[in-house]
């Protein structure tokens, strides 16, 4: 049967009206995504910030003070307790009030002045390993710069100014795109991708599963609406509303969180449209396969949100994920979208440079709709 624009429009219009008048769906499609976006965007800085650290300074010298000043200078650490005995520090650690203890030995400055090696002990709360890694990394970096200064002083003292000048390898660093390592630039395109992968599939899955569960879909089964018209018509309002949501996110990202947009805006808009349509199609394809709303909700939450969160490169680069995980990652639309969005926004590339990912997204989109339409039967059972 030929595709009738009129029937398609009728279905879309009806769905849109129902959506608009149902407060729960309004909450789900407009309000909840926005709230989550702000929660995540404000709360997801991945840099270490204000890590509370306890210090056991047994030396209490000018030199140990210099070291502590170094710790306090960066934004990473906040020294919580400089005095106190070990036991009370450990209690603090066990209660999670501090995340690390830095122990400066009593002979710290004496040995250094004598030209002897000293060892600083750092005790890190390991109950969150990735956080512990971050803490120790930042602590080591701080100690590293302190160590460099001490050595430089030593070499200057021992060999005169020649000693200092002659560091054999000098690292000259240039950072592209985001010289200040702002994590917002990195994380916000990801947050947009994740939220777009959560709500649109959920609402579209529910909308179809609900009709199947209550049986109200019988009328559609028994009418001349073709399944293509019906499914596409039913999904259109969700795609449009989600796309408006996306535009709001984008504006927030650009103007509130000051994420740059260096690349091609039309390219970003087009790719995002495909991504939105894909997200909706994921919900659709799930609802086509199940008969109850509960199943639709649970499977959607399991298939779309969780993997996208963990494997899409949202927080951890895809390259760091294991072999199997990486296969899964490339099977997720979110992976490709995050890649494209970051490249266009931060790196400033155009269509040509992201064509592979764009192709993948278009493939997902078309494929999912095709599968849904093929699997959908205008029949009971």
């Amino acid at each position: 049967m030929t595709f009738s624009v009129r029937r398609f429009k009728a279905v879309a219009q009806k769905e849109f009206l129902e959506l608009r008048r149902n407060p729960l769906f309004f909450l789900m499609t407009v309000l909840a995504p926005l709230i989550l976006f702000f929660l995540f965007a404000y709360g997801f800085p991945l840099d270490a910030k204000n890590i509370p650290m306890g210090v056991l300074d047994l030396d209490k010298s000018a030199l140990s003070r210099t070291l502590l000043d170094k710790f306090e200078a960066g934004k990473a650490f906040r020294i919580k307790q400089t005095a106190g005995d070990y036991a009370s520090l450990e209690k603090e650690l066990s209660l999670g009030r501090i995340r690390a203890i830095l122990a400066i030995p009593a002979d710290f400055s004496r040995n250094l002045k004598r030209g002897l090696p000293v060892t600083l002990q750092i005790l890190v709360d390991g109950s969150y390993p990735n956080r512990a890694n971050l803490v120790s990394g930042y602590a080591e970096a701080t100690i590293f710069s302190f160590r460099t200064e001490i050595l430089r002083d030593f070499f200057i003292k021992a060999f005169g100014s020649a000693g200092a000048a002659d560091l054999p390898i000098d690292l000259s660093v240039s950072v592209w795109y985001n010289p200040s390592f702002r994590s917002e630039d990195f994380i916000i395109p990801g947050i947009i991708a994740i939220i777009m992968m959560f709500f649109p599939p959920l609402v579209s899955a529910i909308s179809l599963a609900k009709e199947k569960e209550t049986g109200s879909i019988l009328n559609m089964y028994c009418s001349s609406v073709t399944k293509t018209e019906y499914l596409l018509g039913k999904m259109t309002p969700y795609v449009l509303i989600s796309y408006v949501n996306f535009l709001i996110f984008l504006l927030c990202a650009l103007f509130i969180f000051e994420v740059p947009l260096r690349g091609d805006l039309p390219a970003l808009l087009i790719v995002s449209a495909f991504y939105t349509a894909t997200a909706v199609a994921m919900g659709l394809s799930i609802a086509v396969c199940v008969n109850t709303q509960i199943a639709a909700i649970l499977i959607t939450a399991m298939v779309t949100l969780t993997p996208s969160f963990l494997y899409s490169g949202f927080m951890v680069p895809v390259s760091s994920i294991g072999e199997e995980g990486r296969l899964l990652a490339y099977g997720l639309p979110a992976t490709h979208y995050i890649d494209v969005a970051r490249k266009i926004m931060v790196k400033g590339v155009g269509f040509a440079e992201v064509k592979l990912s764009v192709l993948a997204l278009v493939g997902f989109c078309v494929g999912l709709y095709a599968i849904s339409i093929a699997w959908f039967k205008k029949r009971l059972g």
């Binding site: 404000y42 800085p45 004598r114 990394g137 602590a139 021992a158 240039s174 970051r342």
Partner: protein
Amino acid sequence: MFFRLFLLMRKEFLQFFRNVPLLIIVLYGATLDVYTAGEVSMDVHNYPIAVYDIDQSAQSREVAGKLREPFFQVTHFITEEKQIENLIEDGKVSVVVVFPKGFGEKTASYQTAQMQVILDGSNSNASELALRYLSSIVYEHNLDLLVTKWKISNVTAKFIPYVDDQTLYRYNPNLIDRWAFCLQEFFTIMTLIGMLLTATAMVNEKQFGTIEQLMVTPLRTFEIMAAKIVPMVVVLFIATFIAVFVILKPIVGVPLAGNVWAFFLVTLIYSFAISGFGLVISTLSNNLSETVLFSLLMVVPIMFLSGAWVPPEAMPGWMRFLVMFSPLKYYLDLGNGIFLKGNSIFLMWKDLLFLTSLGIGAFLLGASRFRKVFQ
């Protein structure tokens, strides 16, 4: 009265055990879900790096050789300068190391040689981390070179004022990701299950109209509520028991350093707090799917504000304030405290107090909403 409470509770159990999908969710949540959470890694490792060695000297190769796993993985050796831009733009690598002509000669003669690093700042975190690793690798190398240089002048390494650091990890000395992830998932899933169980038990009555039948009987509202909540707490207990003694301890290998019964006490308090949230959800929704939806919507912020993903200290001030209202934060802190740190609950009395008062608050809110809607 006790007989009828008993019958009401028996009814809840019977319904729960006949509700196969719900049963599967609870069992899955307590076992497989907790287990698989440990398979995820949040570490950055095998970071792809490209080396553009123009110098092709022994010295440059030596430095390049130190850029290795677990953190780095050299995936590309570049031969032309224009490749750098391509590789970074495409995101194939995020770090490019360039050894300019004369690098070997200069280092061999202890002159300062340039080594260039180009970083992709769009991948901010990993790149920052990469820079730190790179700096320390280069620094160690520098030091080696210097020591060799001054050795000639009879100065031994022993007499260099070297500030060494030794990092020890408490509670999870080998930083096994699994422990944290599995525990975290377990606490979260218990929250979701607790909420779902209370809310679905209530909403089912609403959806099928049986609540009306109950309301015309001489049952008091608190009896109806108690009959819903007590079985939920018991089921949550069983789930906790399975998760702890079947998955977390034997398979995941969580040390269980503290008193496990103290943890069950905490779980008891926690389930009442959560049931309050469940009651609120049940008064807001009219059918099962709305309930699941609301529960998901409620769990995500509770999870986010628990401090499991982002440490509270890194959040802005207003969000830190909200953290105080996430029951999961206290459950997580208490749970981790008992399981990993071996704390006694007396030590953590403040967390316990907060959780209890939050629990009472949520429960009262749920109960009053419930009364309003169902009476």
